[in-house]
Amino acid sequence: MEEKIINRENLNKLCRDIIDGGNILIAPGKTEYTVIKDTSEIILDAGSKPTKASYKNYAFPKAEPVIYYKKDKNDIELIDIDIKGKKTVILGAKPCDSNSFDILSKVFNWDYKDDFFNMRVKNFIVIGMMCEFADKYCFCTSVGLSPVSEKGSDIFLIPLDENNFAVRIITDKGKEFMESYGKYLTEGNPEKAKAKTEAGKSSAKMPEKVFNSEEVRKWLGKNFEHPFWDGIGDVCLSCAQCAFVCPVCHCFDIVDEDYSYEEGRRMKNWDGCQFGHFTLHASGHNPRDIQGKRYRQRINHKFKYYVDKFGEILCTGCGRCSRGCPVSIDIKEIVSDTVKN
């Protein structure tokens, strides 16, 4: 593991170079992860609150065409979409975000290999950064992550002081990427960075571990029909805010859209399991007809099914869904309550 130092000025220059090189740079802006056009838009602060939405949008867009078609009197001509992923750098990813593509890759490459996702992710360089923020909604520690987790990052930054970051090169991809920017780095002091991460782990900024995910998984396996689920959804309004801001929710819907008399496209759009019509059958029957069942699905998918199938919890503990919930439902509370029943 190599470790170097970069100061803010050089980091800015590095960013400038990325953009000027015709690559895409994504970094936390005022409120969201944004495509950076000018380096002044970047807000790189380990103590900042997580953005409202994650950056999964850049690899798994909220709406994307998967095929174009042209109708004729007798046939339909299909035109494939050729995705040439462009080199994209994500700077300042929180540890609870950086892991998301690893988790998503599992489902997008399970039987069908999703080129749309893969082509983009292949070209992504994730520069993660240690997190010094925790509020009552954070629970990364409960899902096996932490504010100093390097999981999913190609390069990891540790803020040493106001002006300097320790740069840890984690993967070969990261190494390869950093080679061309060596001029901006100075030699680092691994001890100092280590001390900083250790301090981070023990500080009050560390979210408290509120549940044991393995216990939760077991409980879920046994309690599919449990009265606990009955009233759980009564205050939920059935929007998909929680799923759409989640870094790892990945359900999508396929719709065909004509855009002229002869032409159209097939779209892949985000979908959310909390929508009432998510499981609505053509017959009119809806197996998840009440919100309690939908909520059960959400928890089971995240903490049981996905774990069973892919060995990963489908949650990074970022707390976005709870923070933004219009009716203040806190997923952390519900998950920790399961095992208490």
Binding site: K73, Y261, G284
Partner: protein, 665 residues
Amino acid sequence: MKIGVFICHCGENIGRTVDCPRVSKAAEWFPGVVHSVDYKYMCSDPGQNMIKDAIREKGLDAIVVGSCSPHMHEKTFRKAALDAGINPFLCEMANLREHVSWVHDDIEEATQKAIDLTRMAVEKVKRNQPLATIKVPVTKRTLVIGGGIAGIQAALDVANAGYEVVLVEKEPSIGGHMSQLSETFPTLDCSQCILTPRMVEVYQHPKIKLMTYSEVEKVEGFIGNFHVTIRQKARHIDASKCTGCGLCITKCPIRKKAFNSFEEGMAYRPAVYVPFPQAVPNIPVIDETVCTYYKNGKCGVCVKVCGREAIMFDQQDKLVTEEIGAIIMATGYKLYDISKKPDDSFIKGYGEYGYGKYKDVIDGLQFERIASASGPTSGEFKRPSDGKEPKKVVFIQCVGSRDDSKGFSYCSKICCMYTAKHAMLYKHKVHDGEAYVFYMDIRSGGKMYEEFVRRAIEEDGVKYVRGRVSKVYEQNGKYIVKGEDTIAGMPVEIEADMVVLATAMIAQENASTLAQTVGIPYDKYGFFNEAHPKLRPIESTTGGIFLAGACQSPKDIPESVAMASAAAAKTMVLFGSDMLEREPVVARVNELLCGGCFYCRKVCPYSAIEVREIKDRNGVVIKEVAYVNDGLCQGCGTCTATCPSKSVELMGFTNEQIFAQIAAL
């Protein structure tokens, strides 16, 4: 779905500017089209046979005809489709004549537009559903509302054709305004003499059920199937016992408490009364508001004198329901009472004429009563204030008519004639009297009408002054009429003994309420609206409801009678078949999706939306949804656009069809 496209040249009409063969060639390429041809005249027999043969031979499911306006030939082509064995509603038209060839010159542009319109029609027809004509049975009974001359005429005509009639009149007697008139223009024959026999005929007609002193309370249902609730107001006289001897009337001690409205307030009537001696039915009514019995339970003179024990003080209003197939509205008019300032702020009143303030300023109907041999003065000209014979009478026309600022914009149509008649009647009786008429224009269109006015001027010496009157005021027992003679260009002042105002004919009191009850539209003045001003003047826009007489607009007697007979004929047309057929363009609710907000119900002009309860297995109501009554729905689609969840669709114009048309633009 196999669709056939048929492009018509309409001789040269379409062919001149639209390249029809090109359109039909282009249509071949539209998805779903299996057959596309063009032909000189599609609507001709060979043209129609071409369509029928194609349907049969190619097994077409639907057709599009690109020709003229659907208003022109939609029926023709739908029939052709039906003849060839497909549902007529699987036929759509593209309007290539009125909307393309006749309005565009450029062949290229016109042809392109024709192709586009054809494509839109093809896309629409793909989504058409076979619809079945709606059939409803017809109840062959007619309700006539209003027993004036129009109502009487309509009732007699329908009844004489052999259909039952229910005639409802709100007053105790039929006869209406005509029974108040002295003589009628332009013949000067006695109004009562020609009317009374007809009233009696109504009374005696076996097919007519006469309900006087009654009002229509509620109308439900639709053409051919109305359920009408009628309130029979309590007469307090047992009609089955009363012989009409009139003893109760002569003995009633209440003589001067109530004005006689038949005499236009110029005489009194007892508490028990018939409006006028020739009343039909000749059964009195007790006026609760003035009868002593209702005040203190005493008197009862009438009970004592009635040999038939017909007095029923405790009689109550009765609600009667009738099953009706057609309704004729003949509610007539009333005169604009200018003494009162109606609440409706756009009517300003005519304070400057002193009507209601000076006893000798009267309106036309009051003059009729004074002139009438059966009136309060027994036909002698006496002015109401002091009973003296007026030597100078001023008639003012257009009081309230043709006056945007204070009255109504319309012309009341009959005042020119009746004023001439009044002046003439006056001059015939008071030979040394002077009659002045202030007029704006003389409108005397009608057989022998102009001749009548000329007679008044030339033979009877009535003085016509062209101009408006600005003020009438009393001075030393005379009425000073200040006006302008616009021909002489001078202000004039006439010292008159009596002033007669030809006040406007306005809609009957509560006409708009009745219209709402019955469910027909009315204009801003309260007159009922006809379905079409030229071609359907007799029908209202609501099916099965017809109009007769002055309830539709000011009319004189012959016009009212003509209209009444026409309305009678219209009901007979309706009764000509046992079942009514209607186009199935009606709204349909998807009960699964309906959220029960009932905005559709609020906007429906026909009250066609009903509430249906949806129950679960245990019979518990889980929601209320909208339901469309086919009989009432006229297919406007206002509900479809209002419905927030789009749970209601208009058959034949579904949203899917319209979206498809938009997509094919």
